[in-house]
């Protein structure tokens, strides 16, 4: 499903210095996450509201590997400090724009935004069915989320790792936000949550 869009996203995200892993099913995605966690000195990760079928296996791995998992609900009294300890943040973006290589996240709690902002490495797990072709396709989705949420609401476009060229026009990654940005695209249909 959406093979062509996945291909376009893949190319663009890599041009933006992001890394893309294609997973056939959820289990493959979890394996990719484990692979990333094992490749660095990870002692603490933060996750946003993941569906149970992702949360459970990731937590199981972390518990066996001695990795602390910060997950919602996040205690306001411990923020933002607690989140700053996480080296990896894992989120499930709400949709993806292929043309621009963009993960789009909706949040009504700023703690969720911090999961993809503070850690040095961000992993976004998405499904191929969530891809839209181009930027203009984002408009109805943004409109919908802002009308559903009549109070506070934040939508964030994330297109690769944090970057700057402020010193001698040299591209450097990770100045404030993640230095590494991974997108794992699951080709299978998204299972019902639970």
């Amino acid at each position: 499903m959406n093979d062509d869009l996945v291909e376009r996203f893949h190319k663009k995200y890599e041009v933006l210095s992001g890394k893309v892993k294609i997973a056939s099913v959820v289990d493959d995605a979890v394996a990719h996450v484990v692979g990333i966690l094992n490749s660095g000195n990870v002692t603490c990760i933060a996750v946003s509201a993941l569906p149970e079928f992702l949360q459970r296996p990731i937590e199981e791995h972390c518990s066996s590997a001695g990795i602390e998992v910060l997950k919602p609900p996040f205690r306001a009294s411990q923020l933002p400090g607690a989140m700053d300890r996480a080296q990896v943040g894992i989120t499930v973006p709400d949709f993806v724009i292929a043309e621009t290589g963009t993960l789009v996240e909706f949040a009504t709690d700023d703690a969720a935004r911090l999961v993809s902002t503070l850690p040095r490495l961000h992993i976004g797990i998405v499904w191929a069915e969530q891809l839209v072709a181009q930027l203009t396709d984002a408009a109805p989705r943004l409109r919908a989320v802002f009308s559903e949420n009549t109070g506070n609401c934040v939508a964030t476009f994330i297109s690769g790792p944090s970057r700057t060229a402020d010193i001698e026009m040299k591209l450097t990654l990770g100045v404030h936000g993640p230095e590494e940005a991974h997108a794992i695209v699951i080709m299978d249909r998204r299972p019902a949550d639970g």
Binding site: K12, L16, P72, P73, F74, R75, A76, S77, Q78, L79, P80, G81, D84, E99, T100, G101, T102, A107, D109, D110, A111, R113, L114, T117, L118, L135, T136, A138, A139, L142, R143, F146, N149, T150, G151, N152, C153, V154, A155, T156, F157, I158, S159, G160, P161, S162, R163, T164, A165, D166, I167, E168, M169, K170, T172, G174, V175, H176, G177, P178
Partner: protein, 703 residues
């Protein structure tokens, strides 16, 4: 007063010219900006058609701005945010100080906001004991050394890694290698506690969406995400012109901005923020607030101004800076007050006063390229001419500008007194005298005058009795009339060969472009009216108007109509053609034999051709005659700027040479026999700068 101001400006230029490494860094940055933009635009399926779309959207939104701002403010309040409409900078600052006092704030972490710089918010905050930290890397660097941004998008582009490493060594006490990556690691560590502990986060907004009450903040670094999410109090300061109607409108801006600035499709992060969210569950440090300050500060007046209203369409991408030839040499400290570069001239006039804008407006050499790159197609050159014009009511223009605006009178005299005048132009004593009295640089080699003008020679041409299909009225202009009549004659012959009846309407004057360039719009309009009147009967009788001088074609096709807005000026515009664009229309079969076979030329496009043929027609015409033609360009003006490069000293010849240097090098490195350009003034500049032969394409067939 006027003298003092020019001295200051010249000192700035001289300083910039002396700092070669800084100049090279700036040139590289600007060129990369231009090149990346061009590549990104070329890769878009619709090319640069988005500019029309952005302009139309902005125009619509500015048209109903008061209503949109009301709607936007209403939505923000519905979502629990606070809105403050600030009539000026002082009011905005007072409001921010109030919030700080109420919150007992000790620190403010800022993400980049030009609007906060416009009202200079940092100083009063610091004066009140509040620690203000810029978190955008470039802004942080210049904050540490108490400078103003050098460039809109790259504020610290003039600092080397060595200098930046030194700045942060002083700040952290840590040895830092002069490497962007290493410095960045130190900065990440240095700023992290500031993000985590700031009492207030302050951002700007690239867009405000009336439909949703959301602000949109774009960054590549992600600092705006942190300052808008962590601190309990968020303050956003935005110019009122940033409000658009719909989500779709906002997405157009969000795309046009980075494409134009650096050739990116989107900035890495785009945050659409509505209302204020909690940070985690349960009891936090304090209530979560957002304050949206909508700044007027002269914008309402701009909206009512027939000329400056166009500046409200600016989306602050900085592309005009990347394109501007003189900005690319002197940088934003000389070419700017707070808002730098071309668009900085009208913006400064509107929000910081005409006087401050007039201080750096003479750096604009009227090449017009800023309009051609602007994503909102803003007529920046015409606004700058207006600034110069209004400013000259208070400060009379220098003598040299007046001389150049009278160029036609001098050319007439030079021609009438040739060859004596030519001997004088080559006499160094005379040139010193000329420089002293008229301000024309003694180093500039000027083209000789022809004793028999084109007008005279045309009258002596044998009448053309063959039957004709098309009718052409030839617009001559100064150079072809007084200096190179053979060029005009060649134009007539080529047109006749293609079956055109050619007339030279009497009473035509030179184009008068210097009046626009130097800001005498009254006389610019008089000249425009004069020439339109001289041509209109022909145009109405079905004559096409053809010009050999690019700037003349530009005036007839574009500038006059902007000055006059009349039916007549519109007709003239519709009927005007550049010579080669016209000849190409008439060329039905390839000429044979190919008289230019084996020749290699480097082609230079005059800036004023960019909105017309871009020189493509002339290049095609030469190629059809066997020549190999390579476009040689740096992506901006050669630096001559019409007559600017004739002027003596820093604000003229010196600056013009500095702009031209990279182009001169490119021509020297290109494997070509000669340079070809259609512009008479570019010819002067390129001859002097390269020492190579420079031809008008028409000349190549009669040498």
């Amino acid at each position: 007063m006027a003298e003092e101001r020019y001295d200051r400006l010249k000192a700035g230029i001289t300083e910039a010219l002396a700092e070669k490494p800084k100049r090279d860094a700036l040139y590289t940055a600007m060129k990369r900006g231009r090149d990346s933009r061009r590549a990104a635009v070329a890769a878009r399926p619709d090319g640069d058609a988005f500019r029309k779309d952005v302009r139309a959207t902005k125009l619509q939104c500015i048209e109903k701005l008061p209503e949109l701002v009301e709607r936007f403010a209403g939505k923000v309040r519905e979502r629990g945010g606070t809105v403050y409409m600030a009539k000026d900078g002082a009011a905005a600052i007072e409001y921010i100080l109030d919030v700080c006092r109420r919150k007992n704030a000790k620190s403010v972490a800022k993400s980049k906001s030009l609007t906060s710089e416009e009202i200079q918010v940092n100083e009063p905050l610091e004066h009140n004991g509040i620690n203000v930290i810029e978190t955008d890397l470039g802004e942080l660097i210049i904050q540490k050394v108490h400078e103003k941004p050098y460039h809109l998008v790259f504020p610290a582009v003039h600092k080397t890694a060595v200098q930046v490493a030194e700045i942060f060594k002083k700040e952290t006490g840590q040895e830092i290698p002069p490497d962007a990556g290493e410095i960045m690691k130190v900065v990440r560590k240095y700023l992290r506690p500031i993000f985590l502990n700031a009492d207030i986060g302050m951002t700007g907004a690239n867009v405000g969406i009336a439909e949703t009450g959301a602000i949109v903040i774009e960054t590549n670094e992600g600092n705006a995400r942190l300052v808008s999410s962590i601190p309990d109090v968020h303050i956003c300061i935005m110019g009122m012109e940033k409000v658009v109607d719909t989500v779709e409108d906002a997405l157009k801006m969000v795309m046009a901005h980075p494409v134009s600035a650096v050739g990116q499709m989107l900035t890495t992060y785009v945050t659409f923020m509505a209302g204020r969210s909690q940070l985690g569950d349960g009891e936090g440090r304090g209530p979560r607030e957002t304050h949206i300050i909508i700044l007027d500060n002269g914008r309402s007046e701009m909206r009512d101004d027939p000329v400056f209203a166009d500046a409200l369409n600016c989306i602050r991408c900085g592309a005009c800076m990347n394109m501007c030839p003189t900005y690319g040499v002197v940088g934003g400290h000389t070419f700017g007050y707070i808002y730098p570069g071309p668009i900085g001239i009208p913006w400064t006039a509107a929000v910081h006063g005409l006087e401050k804008a007039g201080d750096f407006a003479p750096l604009c050499i009227s090449c017009g390229l800023c309009k051609e790159i602007c994503p909102a197609e803003i007529d920046i050159p015409m606004m700058i001419a207006e600034v110069k014009d209004r400013d000259s009511q208070k400060h009379p223009a220098p003598i040299v500008n007046k001389t150049l605006m009278m160029a036609e009178n001098f050319a007439g005299l030079g021609s009438a007194t040739a060859p004596l005048s030519n001997w004088m132009l080559n006499n160094s004593l005379f040139r010193i005298l000329l420089e002293k009295t008229s301000g024309i640089d003694r180093r500039r080699k000027l083209p000789p005058f022809a004793r028999r003008t084109f007008t005279k020679r045309f009258r002596e041409l044998p009448p053309d009795t063959s039957s004709k299909g098309r009718k052409v009225a030839y617009f001559v202009d100064i150079y072809a009339n007084y200096n190179a009549p053979e060029l005009g004659i060649a134009a007539v012959q080529r047109l006749r060969e293609k079956g055109c009846e050619v007339v030279v309407p009497p009473n035509q004057k030179s184009s008068g472009y210097p009046f626009i360039g130097y800001g005498d719009l009254k006389r610019a309009r008089e000249t425009a009216e004069h020439n339109v009147k001289a041509l209109i009967d022909f145009a109405r009788r079905g004559y096409d108007i053809v010009a050999t001088e690019p700037t003349a074609a530009y005036c007839l096709k574009l500038a006059y109509h902007k000055l006059l807005h009349s039916d007549d000026s519109r007709i003239i515009s519709e009927r005007t053609h550049e010579i080669f664009e016209y000849l190409q229309l008439l060329e039905t079969e390839s000429p044979s034999p190919a008289p230019l076979k084996g020749k290699r030329f480097g082609f230079h496009v005059s800036c004023h051709q960019r909105p017309m043929s871009s020189g493509l027609a002339a290049m095609e015409w030469l190629r059809a005659r066997g020549a190999e033609v390579e476009l040689v360009e740096t992506g901006t003006c050669c630096g001559m700027g019409g007559t600017f490069g004739l002027k003596a000293g820093a604000l003229g010849y010196d600056l013009s040479q500095a702009v031209g240097d990279p182009l001169f090098r490119k021509f020297a490195e290109a494997n070509v026999d000669a340079i070809v350009t259609e512009s008479s003034v570019c010819t002067i500049h390129l001859k002097g700068g390269t020492g190579m032969k420079v031809y008008h394409p028409l000349e190549l067939l009669f040498q």
